[in-house]
């Protein structure tokens, strides 16, 4: 699409009442929903009333007085933004008097505004400029002498945007966007009258204020006051392409605004169903990694990981990959190689990697990063409901009366969704937080948890069973729902189990560390507070009982009838931009696309017919099993696309040993990541800006990724996989990712209706999207569960084997921070480093004092698995006995500490429970120094030899 700004209708849509109103605007009859503002009604019919302080993602304010209209039978000149339409109303948007009033307003604005339009970064993209033209402003009778606000200094502290108060018209859009859209309340108007000015926090600069750099204020600003630095540098965009963010599982859609092939800015797309026109610092601003100097653009190979890399042609790299894999299979057997799909690459690319492995390698040795995050979700929800995915869309949260957040920190991990959740909480929904840490949601501006249950890490199942105990013994369950929708006998067995005295809140209080009374109150609120929704994250799944915890959550939702409509449900907050999609596409060793077991003859038969080969009916190896098999000498080759197991998987020593034991490690990625230290072939990948395809977010929403620039490495990722497949003798000939999606649709019942032309029409589709649900499925299990009857599963609390003791008395849990993303491969290569340049160890003041640790001191963090060092951050966000860190920086080596314990059903690592000791240290550990040195060695690239 060429560049046009998205239409701004001035005020948000009215809350639906089901009624319509008919009025007349400038002689034309107009029918609109009751409650719509005059401004919005006019705009929707193509009549643009001048405005400055109104914008359609925040409530109207009525301050600029530019949008005045005449309403027959009413005195004065009401502001159209704050006046709702009424039946029979007659509105005039233009008259001589209105023109005078509007010109007068503009004169006042321009009298205190720089007249440097031609050199201003907003030239051509400025609403003030536009309105001055629209109202016919020709001169400013006040002149420009006297006091002005034009001399104020710029605040350029934020790495991504400038704040130039001299251009501010104090419309308050930025303040309101920060309040209503983002929910951070970082901005205010300081002073009054002529002295009014926008101020971050306590008059600080943007970088040191509470601003989270979401960009909502920049988007809302009608002038050049808040402008992206890139626009200042490059100029305004000349075209825009809608695409989907490549960071987290919210799946925000953006307009990639370009000038030629240069990306100028990413602006949230208003029609994006996942983000509704909002963004976070990562998707909005942190895309510069695509052009970072660390990016590898040429294929490389080496015979041994001790040698420097040698740049080669694509032909040589692909041929070498294919021949090595075939050599290894000839020597060690068909099952001696495998691969890992990427949860950051598209559905089409993931499908091709698992197809390469199944059709080309002839085995099911394929796995994906969901192994280490939400594989328990797949197991648990499939067992209880019949589908390995969440039950709602994000909009559903706006109907919830009670929100229960367990093992998730959405303000950091899923910030755009968290902003919507906070909006609902500010409207009065109740909040229960179950988390060892006092996450931001527990208490932040205008949001406070009704109950925070700071349980001891590793006791999720005990806690959830205690909640169930209350619900069952106090008869708070929804019997009618259970009898109709679930297996009553299974419920009765489960109810007997949870009712036992040893599962009561009182009995488990010594285990969980949470007061029984608080647990009882939380249970009653969840069961009786209205529509109740559960949102959970990796604090649920990354445990030795991760799958049991997911099933316990499903049990609670079924017991209380909180399934099958808006405002309720079980909502896993999926991490990666396409981890849902990777799972959907058959990335697990036991499942084909659409979650059908490889032993399912009918499903496998379909693929065999389509692909012309006999497929393995036995499950393949999961990632930890691949590493075990490697050290045992039976697994010798691996194809890893867009995944850094050496940094992200637990027990780094074990991962390193496994990789080192292989004969051919192929890494397809943007950068030489930690895993590439052990690689023999490096195939440079493409970013989300450089390819077409689709991502599937946490709502099961399939959205388009659109190419905005040619891939710097020469190929889109799916093309590289095709080259490898062709070199291995597979006759693939896809010309475009849409053809791959057509194949997915043909072979995957839940995707049967997904084609690119439908995605163009609808914008997105939530699977299942097929004949039974041609427009997709926002809410699941409405009339019945996918498996028929919902299944109650008895989930007994089995304590983790990771025990604290005299040598390791503390418990370490891990998580994410807003500005960095996972292993930081992308975000560390952007200006987001300004907010989080290192991982810190959060430690309670009591634990710190007992160890003589001050804030900022280097400390050693040691577990049974290993030791590392990082700097301490003393805070009461963690309870005594618990420490916390992030894992965004490879030099922290956080996974040297984590153990091999994992979920019983899926081997999802128990990242959230590691027994540790913390002591003061002098600096980085010997391992960290040795590792850094080894990594530097491994990244050497041999200089190209000069041509003869």
């Amino acid at each position: 699409m060429s560049y046009t700004r998205e239409t701004d209708h001035g005020t948000p849509p009215a809350i639906a009442t089901g009624k319509s109103v008919t009025l007349t605007i400038d002689g034309q009859p107009v029918t609109m929903p009751e409650g719509t503002s005059i401004m919005r009604a006019a705009s929707l019919t193509g009549c643009s009333i001048p405005k400055l302080c109104a914008t359609d993602n925040v409530e109207s304010f009525g301050s600029c007085r530019l949008c005045l209209v005449e309403v027959e039978g009413r005195g004065g000149y009401p502001a159209s933004c704050t006046t709702p339409i009424a039946e029979g109303m007659v509105v005039r948007t233009q008259s001589e008097r209105l023109k005078q009033l509007r010109r007068g307003v503009m004169e006042l604005y321009i009298s205190d505004h720089p007249l440097d339009c031609l050199t201003c970064p907003a030239n051509g993209d400025c609403e003030l400029q536009e309105q001055a033209g629209a109202v016919g402003l020709r001169d400013v009778r006040y002149g420009y002498d006297g006091a002005t606000n034009m001399g104020q200094a710029k605040d350029q502290s934020n790495p991504y945007f400038d704040f130039d108060p001299s251009k501010c018209i104090v419309c308050s859009r930025c303040v309101r966007a920060c309040d209503e859209v983002q929910g951070t309340f970082a901005l205010t108007i300081e002073g009054r009258g002529f002295d009014s000015k926008v101020a971050p926090s306590q008059g600080q600069d943007f970088l040191s204020s509470e601003c989270v750099s979401c960009g909502a204020c920049v988007q809302a600003c009608p002038t050049a006051t808040l402008t992206e630095k890139k626009v200042v540098e490059v100029g305004t965009p000349d075209r825009a392409v809608v695409t989907t963010c490549a960071y987290c599982g919210v799946g925000c859609t953006f307009r990639a605004e370009m000038r030629g092939e240069e990306l100028v800015r990413m602006v949230p797309w208003k029609d994006g169903k996942a983000n509704r026109g909002h963004s976070c610092v990562k998707g909005r601003f942190a895309w510069g990694y695509a052009q970072h100097r660390d990016r590898i653009l040429n294929p490389m190979i080496r015979a041994s990981v001790d040698e420097p890399w040698r740049e080669v042609s694509w032909e040589e790299a692909i041929a070498h990959t294919a021949s090595e894999f075939r050599r290894i299979q000839a020597k060690y057997g068909t099952r001696s190689i495998g691969g890992i799909t990427s949860s950051r690459c598209t559905n089409e690319e993931t499908f091709l990697v698992q197809k390469l492995i199944r059709q080309g390698f002839g085995n099911n040795n394929v796995d994906t990063c969901a192994r280490v995050c939400h594989s328990p979700t797949g197991y648990g929800l499939k067992t209880t409901f019949g589908t390995s995915a969440g039950t709602q869309d994000f909009d559903s949260v706006m109907q919830a009366d009670v929100i229960l957040v367990i093992g998730a920190n959405p303000t950091d991990g899923h910030p755009v969704f968290a902003s919507r959740m906070k909006k609902r909480l500010r409207q009065g929904a109740k909040l229960i937080v179950i988390d060892p840490r006092r996450i931001d949601l527990v208490k932040s501006p205008h949001v406070e948890a009704d109950h925070h249950l700071p349980l001891r890490p590793g006791t999720n199942v005990a806690m959830l069973t205690a909640l169930a105990h209350v619900i069952v013994t106090e008869k708070l369950y929804d019997e009618a729902f259970i009898r109709e929708r679930c297996d009553w006998d299974e419920f009765a067995e489960w109810a007997d189990f949870v009712s036992e005295p040893q599962r009561s809140p009182e009995a488990v209080e010594p285990l969980t560390g949470v007061s029984a009374e608080e647990v009882r109150m939380a249970a009653r609120l969840y069961a009786t507070g209205g529509d109740a929704a559960i949102y959970y994250g990796l604090g649920v799944t990354e445990h030795s009982q991760g799958s049991s915890t997911v099933m316990a959550i499903a049990n609670l939702a079924m017991a209380t009838g909180n399934i099958g409509r808006e405002g309720v449900g079980v909502n896993p907050l999926r991490g990666q931009n396409n981890v849902q999609g990777a799972c959907d596409m058959g990335s697990f060793p036991h499942e084909l696309s659409g979650y059908r077991h490889v032993s399912d003859d009918a499903a496998r038969g379909q693929f065999e017919q389509a692909w012309g080969v006999t497929l393995d009916a036995e499950p393949g190896l999961r990632i930890p099993n691949m590493l075990d098999a490697a050290t045992d000498g039976t697994f010798k080759g691996i194809f890893i696309q867009g995944e850094d197991i050496l940094q992200s998987d637990p027990n780094t020593h074990h991962v390193a040993a496994g990789l080192a034991a292989m004969e051919c490690v192929v890494v397809q990625d943007l950068f030489l990541n930690e895993t590439a230290n052990y690689a023999h072939v490096f195939l440079p990948g493409s970013t989300f800006l450089e390819k077409d395809g689709t991502f599937t977010n946490a709502e099961r929403r399939i959205q388009r990724v659109r190419k905005v620039m040619a891939p710097l490495n020469g190929f889109e990722d799916w093309e590289i996989v095709q080259l490898v497949a062709q070199a291995m003798g597979l006759g693939w000939s896809y010309a475009h990712p849409s053809e791959i999606m057509d194949e997915i649709a043909a072979l995957t019942p839940t995707f049967a209706g997904v084609h690119y032309d439908r995605l163009e029409e609808e914008g997105s589709l939530q699977w299942p999207a097929n004949d039974a649900a041609p427009d997709g499925t926002p809410t699941m299990h409405i009339d019945g569960f996918v498996r028929g009857k919902g299944k109650f599963v008895v989930t007994d609390y089995v304590p983790t084997d990771e025990k604290t003791g005299p040598r390791f008395p503390l418990l370490l849990t891990t998580g994410r921070i807003l500005s960095q993303y996972n292993v930081g491969a992308q975000t560390r290569r952007t200006a987001n480093e300004a907010w989080h340049a290192e991982d810190r160890l959060e430690i309670h003041p009591t634990d710190a004092e007992n160890r003589g640790i001050n804030d900022g001191d280097w400390v050693s963090l040691k577990s049974r698995a290993g030791e590392t060092s990082l700097r301490a951050l003393i805070t009461e966000r963690v309870a005594p006995g618990v420490v916390y860190t992030t894992f965004h920086h490879p030099d922290t080596q956080a996974n040297v500490i984590t153990t091999d314990y994992s979920d019983w059903a899926t081997n999802c690592p128990e990242y959230k429970v590691t027994a540790v000791q913390v002591m003061r240290s002098n600096g980085p550990s010997d391992w960290q120094r040795d590792y850094a040195s080894q990594a530097r060695q491994s990244r050497r690239i041999a200089p190209l030899e000069a041509a003869e």
Binding site: P619, T634, V798, E802, R864
Partner: protein, 78 residues
């Protein structure tokens, strides 16, 4: 687990995994727990892992819990 840095061998890990599955489904009662453990191993373990645990069940009869041992026996039964 002791405080020493004990690295599990692959065999130890397989035994641990089988026992862990059994422990987590034990509350269902022995009959159902054996069936569930067997089904789980059948559905999710690759052939080499299944063969290996069967060998271990014979070579180290005390290593597997009763439920796990019964489940492994069921998988490998002709």
């Amino acid at each position: 687990m002791s405080d020493e840095n004990e690295v599990m061998s692959t065999e130890d890990r397989l035994i641990y995994m089988a026992n862990q599955i059994a422990r987590n489904v034990a509350a269902l009662g022995e009959v159902e727990a054996v069936a569930m453990t067997a089904d789980h191993i059948r559905a999710f373990w690759d052939p080499a892992m299944k063969q290996r645990i069967a060998v271990l069940a014979t070579a180290r009869p005390d290593a597997l819990s009763p439920i796990a041992a019964a489940a492994v026996g069921r998988i490998m039964a002709p």
